[in-house]
């Protein structure tokens, strides 16, 4: 569903933020990008979500090129990142309607989706409250629900459990697993090992904009000869990180 081929990204001809990255995510797979802050995960995901354009290389989502068919791609992805925020003056109810309008869903579909998501995440009691009055966890759940309002086949979540308490985080990971099981292609970035280990079918470890290792958790442990996933990551990081 997602094909990333030798992608480079530079900001104003300076250093490569993303350098020669290639990977693919299949239908029903949960693919994790793991790396420290500033490794280029967010940039990479924003390129896939058509917010940024690759300097070199191509990205296709559902067979569509991100540089030329952005609008079609946007219909097929649900993107969640901590940088995309909800309007603090609006209410969950209004936001559902607003994004439903933008995705040009018909009213009945919006209402159905609203009901389903409110039920699923327990948003119902807060539907009429202003976003700024809500807790971080509730905001995140609303963001997730809204990013999936159009039921996209490809789901891209940038650090979805960031800043959430353990209960909410658990709810979110459960939902992601469910999405993968129901045939969505899920691309996930995180720097939390437990999430990566528990959730991802396949992982790519990014250091300084490059993928330094790729495979399942087991593969990574084996290839590095370490006993735990955490140690595998540290070994890879110290080998590849440039000072």
């Amino acid at each position: 569903m997602i094909e990333v081929n030798h992608v480079y990204k530079q900001y104003r001809k300076a250093v490569n933020v993303v350098e020669d990255v290639s990977f693919s995510v299949r239908k029903g797979q949960i693919f994790g990008l793991l790396g420290p802050n500033g490794a280029g995960k967010t940039t990479l995901m924003q390129m896939i979500a058509t917010l940024l354009f690759p300097t070199r290389g191509t990205i296709t989502v559902c067979g569509l090129n991100t540089s030329t068919q952005e609008r079609e791609i946007r219909k097929n992805i649900g993107f969640l990142t901590s940088e995309v925020k909800l309007d603090p003056f609006s209410t969950p109810d209004k936001l559902f309607d607003f994004f439903g309008d933008l995705y040009q869903l018909d009213r009945a579909a919006i209402a159905a989706k609203k009901e389903e998501s409110f039920e699923r995440f327990g948003i119902g009691p807060f539907a009429g409250k202003k976003i700024m009055e809500l807790s971080t966890g509730m905001k995140q759940k609303i963001s997730i629900a809204i990013s999936l309002i159009h039921n996209p086949p490809v789901v891209i979540f940038d650090e979805p459990t960031n800043g959430l308490d353990i209960l909410t985080a658990h709810q979110v990971t459960d939902y992601l697993r469910e999405l993968g099981a129901s045939g969505h292609a899920v691309l996930l970035s995180t720097h939390i090992f437990s999430v990566a280990e528990a959730l991802c079918d396949e992982l790519a470890i990014i250091v300084d904009g490059r993928i330094v290792a790729q495979g399942s958790v087991l593969d990574l442990k084996e290839n590095t000869g370490t006993d735990s996933f955490e140690n595998a990551f540290f070994k890879l990081y110290s080998e590849h990180h440039k000072e």
Binding site: T43, L52, L102
Partner: protein, 764 residues
């Protein structure tokens, strides 16, 4: 498609947008003040027109007098010999003046003598006509009132007979054949004069020209700014914009939706203001109100497109507002220019966006707005809006205007950090000259440094002085003062060569120097300059104020500053008194007694208010800020030289500027600079500067660097035998040798003192 656009437009109403930033609060306050000022002057105008009017001049409708200016001998002979009956049925008044081209005095004379027209001869009329080898034809200029259509016919009729008969007379006197040449050239001018009967109409025309369009403009500008800035830049700031970008909505739809939202927002104040203003002032014609509404809507749409373009280019409401502010000011200036337009402007102005909207509103209220103009304005507005919308769409496709990407900004932060940690950039400074304890913290290239220090004062002065000019401009836009004012500028400019535009501007400056409003505005402008420098030092350089020679950090320091200021006042007063004394003793001046009266006391006081920040601002700019900074790089001598040169150049555009004036200004500047270095603060020189200018202008009644003051204590004139090289002529004493003498004496004393002090300090 429509659904998406509506949804985006609707967002504009769902967010709390008002008074988010300091800029918007400030703009709101200044807009209200601006409108209040307008109404304040309008009320003054109303009072003058309808209540306080004691103008008893006769009705303009039945005037028959003809004013004859500089009548030549041949005209007298022509009348005496009774060759014709041209003058038998009219009263004539004779007047002699050198300024025969001066519209204003002729206009005044017309009014005083209750004449409907004036015939003006050039002073050498006979000489030229009867010269044997006549190559040029002398001019006869006529002026006639246009307020009454009858006067034009009266004038035309009279002039046809007059021209023919007088021409024939002159030709026969000269002995040339009639057919061979015309003896003179006739130029007809129209002058505007308003009778009391017209004042009601005039009042409405001022309302329709000034108040209604201006208030609409300000309201639309402000509400467009508030909502437009929140629309895209505000969404980017909140981080909600990316969510919209992620949906399958085209960029064009986003732009259209945002423009529509802002447009609807701007319509709200219009919906309140237009009925209030038009019906409130008695413009009840349906056609003109519809026309005003249509033009306002065009204006709103164009502005919405403009503000969205600006909004897209910025990442926060504050930066968007800051970018919009210059546009805001430019559009206000456009309003002021449009207000000043006399009569109906050329057709091309109706096509221009903003200018055309302004004229359109005022013209449709006056009922002389044609459909063609309206359609052309529709075309130009829509074309500009469409261009802006397409440009915005393009901008929205560019990464740099869409990313809310923190990793990108992280990247730049890292670069900055790398720069900071680069040892080369850790600039340890060893200033060449230690003035006011200033230590540079940044390395600057020679060129960059000079450019910066030379252009900053020039930039600030050339930016702020025109703004200060706006205040009296608005003030003058009422009653006949406005025509007088504009005409005096006109005659001033037309009587000068093209090369002397700077002098013409200074002439205008002199005219305004007698205006209290202007003086206070200028005073404010100097205060702002000082504030800007304090801001630069405190916030950008992060240096204490003592590095611009203004140590005010403790109570003893403040007391010391006050003492220094007092000493400086005394010094400046003594120096200029010395100059006055020299000029008196050499019999260059003719003091003619006390000129100050009760009426000019407020003006006198406002002058004092102006000279204090005026002197201080020049000192802060040059001696306070530039001297130590340039000195740290190039050494004290170079710094004193450069600041003094800039000081001289800053006054180069003034009236009567000469080489002696330049040398004198440089000498004074050198004296002030050395004095500042000597005292290690600038309070003394600030005070000396202020006292010098104040005493020179308002005590002794002389020109200050080419600027003539009003409300002087002494009335001083140059004596007939005065020598310009000694007195400085129209530049004032600063252009003459008397000042050079005093300054050189002061410089010598200062150098001697310094020498003595430094000798005393030496041990043993």
């Amino acid at each position: 498609m429509l659904r998406v656009i509506w949804a985006i437009a609707g967002r504009s109403f769902s967010r709390g947008t008002h008074f988010k930033t300091k800029v918007s609060r400030l703009t709101a306050v200044s807009c209200v003040l601006f409108i209040l000022t307008c109404f304040f002057y309008m009320s003054g105008f109303v009072y003058e027109r309808f209540i306080g009017s004691d103008d008893e001049s006769g009705s303009i409708l039945d005037r028959e007098t003809v004013l004859i200016v500089n009548a030549p001998e041949s005209l007298d002979n022509f009348v005496d010999e009774a060759v014709s009956g041209v003058f038998t049925n009219v009263d004539t008044v004779r007047l002699e003046t050198n300024a025969y081209y001066d519209f204003i005095s002729i206009n005044e004379a017309l009014r005083e003598n209750e004449a409907y027209m004036a015939i003006v001869f050039s002073t050498d009329f006979d000489e030229v006509v009867f010269s044997s080898n006549q190559t040029s034809r002398p001019q006869i200029i006529t002026y006639f009132e246009t307020s009454n259509a009858g006067f034009k016919n009266q004038h035309d009729e009279f002039m046809v007979t007059f021209t023919e008969e007088y021409g024939n007379y002159l030709v026969s006197e000269k002995g040339a054949a009639v057919s061979e040449y015309e003896p003179f050239q006739l130029i007809n001018n129209e002058t505007e004069f308003l009778s009391d009967e017209d004042s009601g109409q005039y009042f409405l025309s001022v309302i329709s020209k000034m108040v209604i369009p201006l208030v609409i403009f300000i309201a639309v500008l402000y509400s467009a700014m508030e909502s437009g800035v929140a629309a895209v830049a505000g969404e980017k700031e909140k981080g909600t914009f990316a969510a919209i970008l992620l949906t399958p909505v085209s960029r064009m739809q986003i732009v259209l939706g945002s423009v529509l939202g802002v447009f609807l927002h701007t319509l709200i104040p219009c919906a309140i203001l237009i009925p209030l203003l038009t019906i409130g002032f008695g413009f009840i014609e349906v056609g003109s109100i519809i026309s005003v509404v249509a033009i306002t809507m065009l204006l709103c749409f164009l502005l919405s497109a403009l503000i969205i373009t600006i909004s897209i280019m910025n990442k926060s409401t504050l930066s968007a507002q800051t970018s919009f502010l210059p546009v805001f000011l430019i559009l206000l200036v456009v309003c002021v220019i449009a207000m000043q337009e006399k009569g109906t402007p050329a057709a091309v102005y109706f096509f221009l966006p903003f200018y055309g909207h302004y004229h359109g509103i005022s013209a449709s209220l006056n009922g002389d707005y044609s459909l063609i103009y309206f359609l052309s304005l529709v075309a130009t507005s829509l074309i500009s809006s469409v261009i802006l919308i397409f440009a915005s769409t393009r901008l929205l496709r560019m990464e740099q205007f869409t990313t809310t990407n923190d990793s990108a900004s992280d990247f730049w932060e890292k670069l900055e950090l790398a720069k900071l940690s680069n040892p080369k950039k850790n600039y340890v400074s060893f200033p060449k000259a230690n003035i006011f304890d200033y230590r540079p913290t940044r390395r600057r290239g020679t060129f960059a440094m000079l450019m910066y220090h030379f252009s900053l004062p020039l930039f600030l002065i050339s930016l702020l002085q025109p703004i200060a000019l706006l205040v009296p401009l608005i003030y003058y836009l009422r009653s006949e003062a406005s025509t007088k004012f504009i005409e005096s500028i006109g005659s001033m400019v037309s009587s000068m060569q093209i090369g002397n535009i700077a002098s013409a501007v200074m002439g205008l400056f002199n005219l305004l120097m007698q205006d209290q409003v202007f003086i206070l505005a200028m005073s404010l402008c100097y205060v702002i300059i000082i504030a800007v420098y304090i801001f630069i030092v405190k916030k950008i350089e992060k240096n204490p104020l003592s590095t611009i020679g203004m140590p005010l950090h403790s109570l003893p320091a403040v007391k010391k500053a006050a003492v220094s200021y007092g000493k400086g006042l005394l010094l400046g007063f003594c120096m200029i008194s010395g100059v006055y004394l020299i000029l008196l003793l050499t019999r260059q001046l003719r003091p003619s007694g006390i000129a100050l009266n009760m009426a000019s006391v407020p003006l006198f006081l406002s002058y004092i208010l102006m000279w204090i920040p005026q002197g201080a601002s020049e000192e802060v700019m040059l001696r306070g800020y530039m001297l130590p900074r340039v000195g740290a790089k190039f050494g004290r001598g170079a710094a004193v030289g450069l600041t003094s040169l800039l000081f001289g150049l800053l006054h180069a555009g003034n009236v009567g500027f000469s080489l002696i004036a330049l040398i004198n200004l440089i000498l004074i500047a050198v004296f002030f600079a050395l004095l500042a270095c000597h005292t290690q603060e600038i309070f003394t020189v600030c005070a000396a500067h202020t006292a010098w200018n104040f005493a020179q202008g308002n005590l002794f009644g002389m020109h200050v660097s080419g600027a003539a003051g009003a409300a002087n204590v002494l009335d001083t004139r140059y004596s007939e035998s005065s020598l310009d090289w000694l007195t400085g002529g129209s530049f004032g004493p600063e252009g003459g040798l008397a000042v050079s003498i005093i300054t050189i004496i002061a410089l010598l004393i200062l150098l001697l003192c310094r020498h003595r002090i430094s000798n005393e300090k030496l041990p043993g």
